[in-house]
């Protein structure tokens, strides 16, 4: 079975600070994908980023960056220079090759950006 752990529940930062969200996953599969989703107060989950298990290259996309390390089963996500619009719940999720396209979600991180 797959498991995703997001240890932090609520994180408060002052605007323009960086915020890093931790995600640790468990799976026995060697082929899998990791995702980050954002859920603003409106409720709809919005896809942010995806990374497959064979690509550990870390990237930056605008103010978002991620750090994928298979050795520690971690897929951490950073928002640089946070803005009030970044206030949301962020979910890490995992899908595996033979998992019927199911996603296993972490419990989410509530990010509050204080102006």
């Amino acid at each position: 079975a797959q498991k995703v752990t997001q240890a932090q529940t609520e994180i408060s930062v002052v605007e323009k600070e960086d915020v890093t969200l931790d995600c640790v996953y468990e799976t026995r599969d060697t082929t899998y994908y990791l995702f980050w989703y954002k859920q603003p107060p409106s409720g709809e989950l919005v896809f942010l980023i995806r990374r497959n298990s064979f690509d550990e290259q870390n990237e930056i996309s605008g103010r978002y960056s991620w750090n994928f390390q298979k050795s520690t089963s971690s897929f951490n996500f950073t928002i640089t220079a946070s803005q009030v619009v970044d206030s949301a719940v962020y979910f890490c999720a995992l899908s595996v090759l033979y998992g019927n396209n199911r996603l296993a979600f972490g419990k989410g991180n509530q990010v509050v950006v204080i102006p």
Partner: protein, 115 residues
């Protein structure tokens, strides 16, 4: 753009009522999913469907059933609503894939209160 539409944003029902939550997607996706979101528990999969009239139980199917008569529509049914089914319900869809990579697209959610 992919659009997943849930028929109601807010719903208030009485204990024992039969409740229908409707979800429609416009991208010809084979897979559709129903999740329940509760504080501190993240998203939990109730049921999913990989084709018309096909369904599989998720992690918490008890007290729920589903119907998929048309490809674009996936209904979640609470046969006899109970107060512990008060929650946020999210519908999602994606293309069937034999890898694990396909992004799930979500509706805005239905916040159900059972009194």
């Amino acid at each position: 753009d992919v659009k997943v539409t849930q028929s109601s944003r807010y719903l208030v029902k009485r204990t024992g009522e039969k409740v229908f939550l409707e979800c429609v997607q416009d991208m010809d996706h084979e897979n559709m999913f129903w999740y329940r979101q509760d504080p501190g528990l993240g998203l939990r999969l109730i049921y999913f469907s990989y084709d018309v009239k096909m369904k599989e139980k998720g992690d918490i199917p008890e007290g729920y059933s589903v119907s998929r008569e048309k490809k674009e529509r996936f209904s979640l049914i609470l046969e006899s609503a109970s107060t512990n089914q008060t929650s946020m319900y999210l519908c999602a869809s994606n293309q069937r894939s034999y890898s694990a990579k396909n992004i799930q697209y979500f509706g805005a959610g239905t916040r159900l209160s059972v009194l």
